[in-house]
Amino acid sequence: MDKVHKASRTLEITILSAENLSLNRKSIKNNAYVIARVDPINFGSTRAGFEGGSNPSWNEKLTLDMPFQTRFITLEVKCKTSSGDRVVGTASLPLSDILGDYTPESHLHFLSYRLRDSRGEKNGIINVSARVKEPVESMRPAVTENPVRSGCSSSWKQPAMGVPVGHQMNYYGGGVTRGFPIWS
C-alpha cells in the first residue's frame, strides 16, 4: 500500500570547494572529486577537478532523492591516482544541520565540515551549500509537531520523522547534546 508513494524529499547539494587536502602527507595536485551519498542507492558525484591543487573548487550541484528516514549525508573526497581512486577524506553532514534549526525549509544553508582520512586523521575541510526541496510525494507518517519551531510559516509541511531535529531549547543549562562522536 505504501509502496505506491515515494517516501522521500529532494536534496539539492552544491559541492563548492575543499581546502588543504593531502594524500600520503603530500598536498594533492589535481583530479580530486566528491561523492555525496544519501544511502547506497542515492548518491551523486562531481567531476574531477584539474586545477586548484590542494584547494580544489567544483561548484557543482547534485540533486539527490532523500528518503525520510535519512539522518546523514556522507561526503567523500577521492582522488584519481595512478594506483586507482584513493579516498582523501570523508565527513558526515547530519540532516539536523539542514532541517530543524529554526530556519525555514527554503533557506539555503552554507556548511563546512572537517574531513578525516581513513585513519581518522584530520585532512582538510569541505565546503558545500544545501537545501531541501519539498517532498516528492508525501506519504505522511504521524506528524509530531515540533514544539520548537514556532516561527516557521511552512511548518505544516514538516513531517518530523525520527530525524534528530534541533537542539534542546534549554536556555538555562547551556549544554547541547548531540549523541555524535566527539572529535578531539
Partner: protein, 586 residues
C-alpha cells in the same frame, strides 16, 4: 581586532580581495587586520566609501535689497572634540532663493562612525562673485541659515534624500522662516565596480634551499610622494615556481587614489611577488608596476609581464619570471549602502554580563557601578557607542536586551533573562536599554558562571526565525562581558551554527581579565571555529575588542568593533545571491 595572532596558517591566507568561488572562505571582503593595521599606523584611512552630496534649497531668506540672495553652501563635519572642520563648498548661484547647486561635495562615509554634518548657507556679496569659491572669507558674507544631520540619516533613506529646516547659527531657535535645505547622497561609481582577476606566474626564481619557493603576491596602490600602500595579497602556494592563485575580487574602491585627476583604471599598482617564510621574513622574488588597464591588456593579449628586481648596484634587473592574467572580469556589485537604502536592516540586540566577578554594583569599584555624577560605566559606554551607530540602520528601534549569569527575582540563575524583567524581551530605543539595565541592577543579583551558549542560541533562533518572514534583516548581537567563559565548546558550537545565519556577534571585554579565549573566538588568526560534531564555521561572525586596550589608543571601541560589520553583512547576502530590493527610478 585587539591582539592579532596570525600564526603560519593565518599568515598564508589571502587577504584583501575576496576569493571568487569560495563564499565559505574566511577572506573578508572589506577589511582585514594586517592591512588595517598598516593603514592606521601610517595615518591613512582604511577602506572608505566616497559619497557625493547634491544640494538644493527652498524659500531662502532674501538678504539683498535690489535683487535676491546669492547663496552658497559650506559643508562642515563635526569632529569628536566638537570642533567643526570644513569639508567643501558649492558654487555661488546668483539671484535665487530656491537654488539647485551643481557643484557636489564629496564626503567619506564610514559605517563605524557617527558622522554629524553641519551645512551653512551664505549670501555671497556681488563683489566676490568672480573670485574662486575657496578663497571667499565666510565672515565677510551674510549668513542665511544652518542645517545639521547625521550622514547615516541620509544614506539609509530609500531615496537617499533628506530635507532639513534651516535654523539660526548654533540652532538657536527659528525666529523667522529661513527655508529648507535638501541633501541627496550618491555613492561614487567606484563603490560598485569590482574586478574578478586570476593571476599566475611562470618561471619564478627559487629562493628556498631544499625545496621550491612558496610564492604569494602583494598588490599595492601608489600614493602621493611615491610610496605605496598594500591593498591585498593572495594566498601562499607551496613549493611551486609556476603558481596559479585563487581568483581575487578587487573592488575599485581599494584602487582609488588620492588624486582626482587620474582615472581609476590608470592608477599605478605595484605587484610584488614574495617567497613565504614562516619567520615572517618573506624574500622578494620580484616586482612590477601595472595599472588595472595594463592588467586588462595583459589578459586580452595573453601576454606575460616580466618581474624586475633592484640589483646590488642599484640598477633594475629584468627577471625571467613573468606574471600572467588569466581572468579579468569587471562586474557591478551592490554596495552596503545599496542594500541599506533599499530597506535592508540591521537589528541590534544586547546581552549584559551579570556574573559576580563584576563586583557589587553598590561598590564604586564595581564594573556595574552607576555613577551619580553621570559618568558612564564600561557597560553603559559600550551600549551607548555601539547603539548610537546602529540605531540608524534599525527601523523600528525595538531592541532585544538580555542579561546572563544573574539570579532573577524568581530565585533561579538564568543565562538568558529579559533585561527589562518583563515577558517581552524587547525595549524601545537606546534609552530603553539603559533604563532596563539600571533597573536590572536593582532586581537581579550577580551570580555565575559566565556562559555565552544560551544567549547566542537565543539570538540565533531569532535570526533564523526571521528568515521565514523576510530575507532582508541582518542581526547584530552585542555581548558585554567582564570575564572568562566556562562553556567554550558550547559557545563554539553555537557560533558554528550561527555562522550560517544572518547574524554577527560583537564582544566587548570590560575590566582586566585575560581575554585570550575571546581572541580564539574572534578567529582572526585564520583558524576556523570547529563544533563538537566536526562542523566548521562558514563565516567569521565574531568581533572582539577589549575595552582597556582601546581606551589607550585613538580609535574608539565602536570603530574597532563595527569596521568589519559591513563586510560580514555583504558576504552573507552576496554569497546567497540576495540583491537589494528594486529601487524606484526617480
Amino acid at each position: 581586532m585587539g591582539l592579532c595572532y596570525s600564526g603560519v596558517r593565518g599568515g598564508k591566507q589571502a587577504i584583501g580581495g575576496t576569493s571568487l568561488q569560495n563564499p565559505n572562505s574566511n577572506n573578508n571582503a572589506a577589511h582585514n587586520d594586517a592591512v588595517d593595521f598598516f593603514f592606521k599606523s601610517n595615518g591613512q584611512q582604511a577602506l572608505f566609501t566616497q559619497v557625493e552630496l547634491s544640494l538644493s534649497a527652498s524659500n531662502l531668506l532674501d538678504r539683498d535689497i535690489t535683487s535676491k540672495s546669492d547663496p552658497m553652501v559650506v559643508l562642515l563635519a563635526k569632529k569628536r572634540d566638537g570642533k567643526l572642520e570644513e569639508v567643501g563648498r558649492t558654487e555661488v548661484i546668483s539671484n535665487n532663493l530656491n537654488p539647485t547647486w551643481i557643484q557636489k561635495i564629496t564626503v567619506t562615509y564610514q559605517f563605524e562612525m557617527v558622522q554629524p554634518l553641519v551645512f551653512h548657507i551664505y549670501d555671497v556679496d556681488t563683489s566676490y562673485h568672480n573670485k574662486p569659491v575657496k578663497s571667499l572669507k565666510l565672515k565677510d558674507q551674510e549668513f542665511l541659515g544652518e542645517a545639521s544631520c547625521f550622514l547615516s540619516e541620509i544614506v539609509t533613506r530609500h531615496d537617499r534624500t533628506l530635507t532639513i529646516q534651516l535654523q539660526n547659527r548654533n540652532g538657536h531657535g527659528i525666529l523667522r522662516k529661513l527655508g529648507a535645505l535638501t541633501v541627496h547622497a550618491e555613492e561614487t561609481i567606484a563603490s560598485r565596480t569590482a574586478v574578478d582577476i586570476t593571476l599566475r606566474c611562470y618561471q619564478l626564481a627559487n629562493k628556498d634551499l631544499f625545496s621550491l619557493s612558496d610564492p604569494f603576491l602583494r598588490i599595492s596602490r601608489m600614493v602621493e610622494g611615491g610610496g605605496y600602500v598594500p591593498i591585498c595579497k593572495t594566498e601562499v602556494v607551496n613549493n611551486n615556481l609556476n603558481p596559479v592563485w585563487r581568483p581575487l575580487c578587487l573592488s575599485w574602491q581599494k584602487v582609488v587614489s588620492l588624486s582626482r585627476f587620474t582615472l581609476i583604471q590608470e592608477n599605478p599598482l605595484v605587484i610584488e611577488c614574495f617567497d613565504f617564510n614562516s619567520s615572517g621574513n618573506h624574500v622578494l622574488i620580484g616586482k612590477l608596476q601595472k595599472s588595472m588597464a595594463d592588467l586588462e591588456t595583459l589578459h586580452r593579449e595573453k601576454n606575460g609581464a616580466n618581474f624586475v628586481i633592484q640589483s646590488s648596484h642599484g640598477h633594475e634587473k629584468v627577471l625571467k619570471g613573468q606574471l600572467f592574467v588569466d581572468l579579468f572580469l569587471e562586474k557591478e556589485q551592490y554596495s552596503f549602502l545599496d542594500y541599506v537604502s533599499s530597506g535592508f536592516e540591521l537589528n541590534f540586540m544586547v546581552a549584559v554580563d551579570f556574573t559576580a566577578s563584576n563586583g557589587n554594583p553598590r561598590n564604586p569599584d564595581s564594573l556595574h557601578y552607576i555613577d551619580p555624577s553621570g559618568r558612564l560605566n564600561s557597560y553603559q559606554q559600550a551600549i551607548m557607542e555601539v547603539g548610537q551607530v546602529i540605531q540608524f540602520y534599525d527601523s523600528d528601534r525595538r531592541f532585544p536586551a538580555w542579561g546572563f549569569g544573574g539570579k532573577t527575582p524568581a530565585g533561579t540563575i538564568s543565562h538568558c533573562f529579559n533585561l527589562n524583567g518583563s515577558a517581552s524581551f524587547e525595549v524601545e530605543g537606546i534609552e530603553g536599554i539603559m533604563a532596563a539595565y539600571a533597573s536590572a541592577l536593582h532586581n537581579v543579583s550577580l551570580s555565575g558562571p559566565t556562559l555565552f551558549g544560551p544567549v547566542i542560541n537565543t539570538a540565533a533562533q531569532i535570526a533564523g526565525q526571521s528568515l521565514s518572514n523576510s530575507n532582508s534583516k541582518y542581526f547584530v548581537l552585542l555581548i558585554i562581558t567582564d570575564g572568562v567563559i566556562t562553556d567554550m565548546q558550547e559557545t563554539k558550537d553555537a557560533l558554528v551554527r550561527a555562522s550560517d545565519l544572518p547574524l554577527s556577534i560583537l564582544i566587548v571585554g570590560v575590566g582586566g581579565a585575560d581575554f585570550t579565549q575571546m581572541e580564539i573566538l574572534d578567529a582572526d588568526n585564520g583558524q576556523r571555529l570547529q563544533s563538537s560534531t566536526g562542523r566548521m564555521a562558514t563565516r567569521d561572525i565574531v568581533q572582539f575588542v577589549p575595552m582597556r586596550e582601546v581606551n589607550s589608543g585613538q580609535i574608539s571601541v565602536v570603530q574597532a568593533l563595527l569596521e568589519e560589520l559591513p563586510g560580514q553583512f555583504l558576504t552573507y547576502f552576496r554569497s546567497r545571491d540576495i540583491k537589494p530590493h528594486a529601487r524606484h527610478v526617480c
